[in-house]
């Protein structure tokens, strides 16, 4: 079963935190090649893996994954703040 494409910010967030693919893979318990497939959008993660990745990055899952192409993180955070206030 092939689902709709899920976009993500894994590559940017990983680089930002100075993690290698191997480091991130070890943190969430997958093979490092799977991180590559995720970053290129060639594989949609399970909910379990998506949650684990969000926990590692310390962000809500909707900031890491989206059905729409990703906007800049700064825009996304500003939107969130506007919604909260």
């Amino acid at each position: 079963m092939k689902g709709e494409k899920i976009y993500n910010r894994i590559a940017v967030l990983r680089e930002e935190r100075g993690l290698s693919r191997k480091d991130l893979a070890d943190k969430v318990g997958v093979n490092f090649q799977t991180i590559g497939y995720l970053e290129r959008g060639e594989y949609n993660p399970s909910l379990d893996l998506a949650m684990d990745l969000s926990v590692v990055f310390g962000l809500p899952v909707e900031l890491v994954f989206s059905r729409q192409p990703m906007r800049l993180l700064s825009e996304e955070l500003a939107n969130l703040k506007n919604k909260q206030s």
Binding site: G29, V30, N31, Q33, T34, G36, Y37, Y43, P45, S46, D48, L49
Partner: protein
Amino acid sequence: MIRTIPLLHRRIAVVAQLGCYPVFLLLACIFDMSSDLTNVLAFLGVIASSAYLYYKTGLWQFGNAPDEQVDERQIQIRNQAYRFAYMGLSTLALLFVIYLTLAHDFRWIVPTGNLLVWSVITLVLVLPSAILAWTETDV
């Protein structure tokens, strides 16, 4: 340490691995070659290509390890590989039975002996891992 092999090289090795026994079987049937010679050559071909494909690449483990040792994407891809392997083997078995039926009527050459047995054994043993070696872009 994991060894990486470019996709093209992997595909060539897969063709060699799966093709050695059938090609030598065909040569033995057509040219009436010595079965000892063809057996040894085919065996060496399969061993060399398998060693090249699987030594420290993780591909054999990917195709054969228990589910606990592979991640969710690998399980998904491996299930697809097993499905293709099953379909491939079923198709080949069916074609072979049809060939045998026709060969009897039309007096075609019927392959028999060690090479046929080893062709089938090689195919059954390595097909899922060979499919993964053929399809995975990132190994």
